[in-house]
């Protein structure tokens, strides 16, 4: 620790940017005092914002950009036509070694496309995956992929399992994380060919992964395992279905408390407890999806988040950099290739 860590921030991405980016950076620095920032964006707007936070001002440099990736830009368009944008240049700073990671609350598809092309994947990883941490009945779990890869082969799922396990172990500091593939049943014969082949690959890899086979959708929130692996289509549907269900519950609960004078009074009395409940499921506490498997740490913040949520996303990037996440992935995959291929057995007669 102690040594400085530089993170590039896309100061123009997100609904409440650049204000929430600057305030978020200021909060993150209180929690992680060794952080320094490169802010990419409109200098005229950023300078007065940064100057409000004396300590932050001393720990960041502004790199002026004119262009912005719009929320409506298609990924391919952003990649080719927005080369001078705050997002592109923030990612490029990681490639150039001027930052160890990048955080953006901008257009998700554009960030994935730019990060993939500019940073490229780690050796041994064919495609990056998007991952997030979730509250569960047992604590926290990791879910990946959340939508970076719509069609996945068994090799992709296997690599996601390796990355998710390393994340849970090295960043969430779970000693021996359990890993499973998201399926429609726990039995070995359930699901499709891709998922069954991926399970075999994990089992036969020789890696010391505590692999539990298959879990179902309700196991995500139950926290049955620490790492849940799915292709990007299924993972994205699961993530958004969970978000939607959470909103439905919150709305129904709010309506219940508005029902009568007694329920309003009940709400008032239970307020501290209900606030604790709200904090426990606060999306800002879990804001930030990590783009795993690239040469550089990339975190996507929710576009609608506020400064507190953005600070969480910066913290995620800081943790991954501090723990040397990428070096551990490379180690793990090298270990994989170092596993001696077993000789075919000689048939004893």
């Amino acid at each position: 620790m102690g040594s400085e860590i530089v993170i590039a921030l896309d100061a123009m991405g997100g609904d409440k940017a650049p204000g929430m980016v600057v305030r978020g950076a200021s909060i993150a620095r209180v929690r992680h005092p060794h952080l320094r920032f490169r802010l990419f964006g409109d200098e005229r707007r950023l300078k007065p914002l940064v100057e409000r936070f004396r300590r932050l001002a001393a720990a960041c440099t502004i790199e002026h950009t004119e262009e912005v990736v719009e929320a409506t830009d298609k990924p391919a368009f952003a990649l080719r036509q927005r080369k001078g944008s705050s997002m592109s240049l923030a990612v490029r700073a990681v490639h150039e070694g001027r930052a160890a990671g990048v955080v953006s609350a901008g257009n998700t598809g554009a960030l994935m496309a730019i990060a993939k092309v500019v940073l490229k994947t780690l050796p041994g990883i064919s495609r990056p995956a998007m991952a997030s941490v979730f509250p569960t009945l047992r604590g926290e779990s990791v879910l990946l992929d959340l939508g970076a890869n719509i069609d996945c082969g068994a090799d992709n799922l296997f690599q996601f399992a390796v990355m998710g396990e390393v994340y849970a172990r090295s960043v969430l500091l779970i000693e021996k994380p359990t890993v499973a593939l998201l399926n429609v049943g726990e039995e070995e014969l359930k699901g499709n060919e891709v998922i069954r082949t991926a399970a075999a690959k994990v089992r036969e890899s020789g890696l010391p992964i505590d692999f539990k086979g298959f879990v179902e959708g309700d196991d995500i929130a139950a926290g049955t395992v620490d790492v849940v692996v799915a292709d990007g289509f299924v993972g994205n549907v699961a993530l958004k279905t969970a978000e939607g269900t959470a909103r439905l519950y919150t709305e129904f609960l709010r309506a219940a408390f508005r029902r009568s004078v007694f329920s309003k009074l009940g709400f008032f009395l239970a307020r501290p407890a209900l606030h604790a409940f709200r904090d426990r499921v606060d999306p800002r506490r879990y804001n930030g999806a990590m783009l795993l498997g690239l040469n550089g740490i990339v975190v996507k913040s929710h576009g609608g988040t506020d400064h507190r949520g953005f600070a969480t996303a910066i913290g995620m990037a800081a943790d991954m950099i501090t723990q040397g996440f990428n070096a551990r992935i490379i180690d793990e995959l090298q270990r994989l290739h170092a596993v001696p291929v077993p000789e075919p057995e000689t048939i004893a007669v």
Copy 2:
């Protein structure tokens, strides 16, 4: 209405069978007085149970069976080796015209396999789909397929859309139900080939379906559309993820109310309102998955449900029978083939 409807009940399926089946039937008959039942199961156990409910006793016959499909039976095994089971014989009663529908809380895979083979699919339907009704911010929606078909082609998804629309219109009595395919984004180019082709098929079918294109996971609970269509893998993950998230919320909320004397008192005061909240999301209110597209009405009750949940499942079957659901599906698909193929346009010079 008025005329009698006969429903076959697998009296031995479910954790609390046969007691909850008999009590459930008795409750269902209060709500739907024109129902009659054929109870399939162990006569020695069923007879004393039925005799406790005088009106029910007058409206049902017991058909004695010795065998039971176990929860651990594989579908193929149940199909071939459990031909004398309460489940098999209850389904067979529908095939023989001695019942208009069947309800079972037994082994899901076995029920699907037996129902498919014994009843066969409706003309124009290549595979049956499992569907359920969910509470949403706007009311109720239908989600299908929930796991009957792991790998689906565009034709399957198209047929699911037709069946879901007819269900919402004829059973939920929604005048002009909106329909969408579950995807990872709303844009037309999102998702995989199968989903894009299915969308084109719905649009080009000529059927008067109010098709809204694609929705995402969070649209299920939001109630953005009345009918959400997915393949069985994705639909099953969405269903179970929603169930898991609901349980997580309930558990966190319970913990919050136990936190202090004030929160306990608050809970006490808000209790009627919180009970209304609980009723709104009570899984028993939504118990029952319909197996759509077969020659006969088949409803699968949750295995762990109680008599109230089982009564809901019977009610679902009764509604589908009363509304002539299957005849409407056949009509709709015949209409499809009756749509004249448009002549290629003559190019005006």
